[in-house]
C-alpha cells in the first residue's frame, strides 16, 4: 500500500470496531471541523464511556488533537476554526451557543503537551482554578483542596515542604504532575490529555502513566499520544485517526493484537511509507 491507496481507503471507509458504547459520558455524532476552508475532521462518531481511558492515536496531522480540543471548546481560541456536529457531555450540548465555556472547562479539564505551570508558587498554581471558580470560601478549605489535589497527583510528598516555591522550579515530570493536580483541583468529570508525556523522560512518563491508571477510577480520561506503547499501556479503548477520519475504535487489547482495519495495522506495526 502506498499513501494514495491509504488515502482512498480512508475516505471510502466508515469507522470500524465499536465507536459507540452504552451509558456514555460524552458522545459525539457527525463531528466535522474546518480550519477556514480546509476540513480537518470528517464526520466522526464516537462515545467516551464513564471512567474509561480512551487513547487517540494516529500519524501527525490526523486530527486527533483537533478532535480532543473540540471536547472542551479549546478550539474557540482559533478564529478560523469551525466545528459542526453534535457533541454532548451527558445531557449538555457542548456547542450550544448559549452555553458558557467557563463552567464547561471546569467540567472538562485539560492537560497539555508541554508542562505549563504558571510562573507562580506551587500552591498558587493548584489554587488558581478553585479561586477563579470560587470553590473555596475559606483559606483552610483552599488549603485542603490544594493538598488533596497534590496527593491525587502523587506530588504531595515531593512538594509539601516547598508549597510556596516556584512551580517552574520543579523537574519536567513534576511540573506535568503539578499541571494534572491543577486540573483536578476544580474536580472535573473528564480530563483531556494532549500528549502529556511527549516532553518527559521514561521514568517521569511511567509515573504519569501510573497516575492515569489511578485517576481512571474517578475520572473519564481521553488521551492523545504519539507513543503507541503508551496507548497500549494506559488505555481501555483505542481510537485510530487517519487524515481526519476516525478509522477504528476497539478495545485496546484488540487494537494492539489484531486490529480490524488495515490502516490501523499498518500504523501500529510501523508500516507506513
Amino acid at each position: 500500500m502506498n499513501i494514495s491507496e491509504h488515502t482512498a481507503q480512508a475516505h471510502a471507509d466508515k469507522t470500524v470496531g465499536e465507536p459507540l458504547v452504552k451509558n456514555a459520558k460524552m458522545s459525539m455524532r457527525g463531528v466535522n471541523v474546518f480550519y477556514a476552508d480546509k476540513q480537518a475532521i470528517y464526520g466522526v462518531d464516537l462515545d467516551i464511556g464513564r471512567n474509561e481511558v480512551i487513547a487517540m492515536i494516529g500519524p501527525s496531522g490526523c486530527g486527533k488533537s483537533t478532535f480532543l480540543r473540540c471536547l472542551n471548546r479549546m478550539n474557540d481560541t482559533i478564529d478560523i476554526c469551525r466545528v459542526e456536529g453534535k457533541l454532548m457531555l451527558e445531557n449538555q450540548d457542548i456547542y450550544d451557543p448559549s452555553l458558557d465555556v467557563v463552567p464547561l472547562r471546569a467540567r472538562v479539564g485539560m492537560v497539555f503537551q508541554k508542562p505549563n505551570p504558571f510562573p507562580k508558587s506551587i500552591y498558587d498554581n493548584v489554587a488558581y482554578g478553585p479561586r477563579i471558580h470560587g470553590l473555596a470560601s475559606r483559606r483552610t478549605e483552599l488549603d485542603e483542596i490544594v493538598e488533596t489535589s497534590l496527593r491525587k497527583a502523587g506530588l504531595w510528598d515531593e512538594v509539601k515542604d516547598r508549597l510556596h516555591g516556584p512551580g517552574t522550579g520543579l523537574s519536567g515530570g513534576q511540573q506535568q504532575r503539578l499541571c494534572i493536580a491543577r486540573t483536578i483541583a476544580v474536580s472535573p468529570e473528564v480530563i483531556l490529555m494532549d500528549e502529556p508525556c511527549s516532553a518527559l523522560d521514561p521514568i517521569a512518563t511511567a509515573k504519569i502513566e501510573e497516575l492515569i491508571a489511578e485517576l481512571s477510577e474517578n475520572y473519564t480520561i481521553a488521551i492523545v499520544t504519539h507513543s503507541m506503547q503508551q496507548a497500549a499501556r494506559v488505555s481501555h479503548r483505542t481510537a485510530y485517526f487517519h487524515l481526519g477520519k476516525l478509522i477504528e475504535v476497539n478495545d485496546t487489547e484488540k487494537v494492539f493484537t489484531n486490529p480490524d482495519h488495515d490502516l490501523t495495522e499498518a500504523y501500529i506495526t510501523g508500516r507506513f511509507g
Partner: protein, 238 residues
C-alpha cells in the same frame, strides 16, 4: 487479510529480522520434516542406519530451537512488535516448541524402528504404520506450506486432516489389540508398533497445533480447544 506485508516496515532492519525469523523457522520445519520422513521410512524398511541418522540429527533440531527462541526474544525486546508482527513472533515461538516435540517423536519412531528390526520378519502393523506415517507426512508438508504462505484456509484443511489421522489411529489401536489377543507371544513386538503409532499420532497433533498458530497469525483468531465446526464458523464470521 492474507498478506502480512512483512517487507513494508519503515525500519528495514525490522523487515530483515522478521523475515529471518520466518525463514529460519521454515528451515527448521524442513529439517524436522526430513526427520519424520526418515523415521517413517526406517520403520517401514527396517533400515537401522537411517534410524541411527534420525537419532543423531535430533541434536540439530534442538540447536535450531535454541537459536530461534533467542532471535524471537531479541525481536520482542528490541521492537516491541504489535498486531501482526506480534502474532508472527508469538506464532514462531510456539511453532518452534511444537517442531521440537515433533523432532522428539520422530526420534522415538526411529528408536522403535531399531527395536522392531531385531524382532524377525513378522511385520504385523506395518500397513497401519505406513498408512498413518504417510498421512502425517502429508499433514506435515501441508502445514509447513501453510505457514510459509501464511494461508489460513490451507492450515484449516490440515486441522481437518488431523481429525482423520486420529480416527485412523483409533482403528489401528483396535487392530493391534486384536493382534495381541490372537497371539500373546507377539505382545512386546506389537507394543513397539503401538509406541510408534502413538508417536506418529502425536506428530499429527503437533502439526495441528502449528496450523492453529498459523490461523492465529493470519487471522488473529484463537481456534484451540474448540471443535472444527466451531473453528470454521469463527473464521467464516470474521
Amino acid at each position: 487479510m492474507d498478506k502480512l506485508h512483512l517487507d513494508r516496515h519503515i525500519s528495514r532492519q525490522f523487515n530483515v529480522e522478521l523475515e529471518a525469523l520466518r525463514t529460519q523457522l521454515l528451515e527448521m520445519g524442513g529439517l524436522v520434516e526430513q526427520q519424520v520422513t526418515d523415521a517413517v521410512a526406517s520403520i517401514e524398511s527396517g533400515d537401522t542406519a537411517l534410524a541411527e541418522k534420525v537419532i543423531v540429527n535430533e541434536d540439530r533440531v534442538d540447536d535450531f530451537e535454541i537459536e530461534l527462541d533467542e532471535q524471537a526474544t531479541l525481536v520482542l525486546a528490541r521492537r516491541q512488535p504489535a498486531a501482526s508482527d506480534l502474532r508472527l513472533v508469538l506464532a514462531v515461538i510456539k511453532a518452534v516448541r511444537d517442531l521440537e516435540r515433533i523432532g522428539d517423536e520422530a526420534q522415538k519412531v526411529a528408536k522403535m524402528a531399531i527395536a522392531l528390526s531385531g524382532e524377525g520378519a513378522n511385520r504385523r502393523g506395518a500397513t497401519e504404520l505406513r498408512h498413518i506415517g504417510a498421512s502425517v507426512l502429508t499433514m506435515m508438508n501441508q502445514g509447513l506450506d501453510a505457514f510459509a504462505r501464511f494461508d489460513a484456509e490451507a492450515a484449516l484443511r490440515v486441522v481437518e486432516a488431523d481429525e482423520s489421522v486420529d480416527r485412523e489411529y483409533k482403528t489401528a489401536i483396535r487392530e493391534m489389540v486384536t493382534y495381541m489377543m490372537e497371539d500373546p507371544r507377539e505382545i512386546s513386538r506389537v507394543m513397539n508398533v503401538l509406541w510408534a503409532l502413538r508417536a506418529l499420532e502425536r506428530i499429527g497433533d503437533h502439526v495441528r497445533n502449528i496450523c492453529e498458530h498459523v490461523v492465529y497469525l493470519v487471522r488473529g483468531l484463537d481456534i484451540r480447544h474448540i471443535s472444527l465446526d466451531e473453528a470454521e464458523a469463527k473464521i467464516l464470521n470474521q
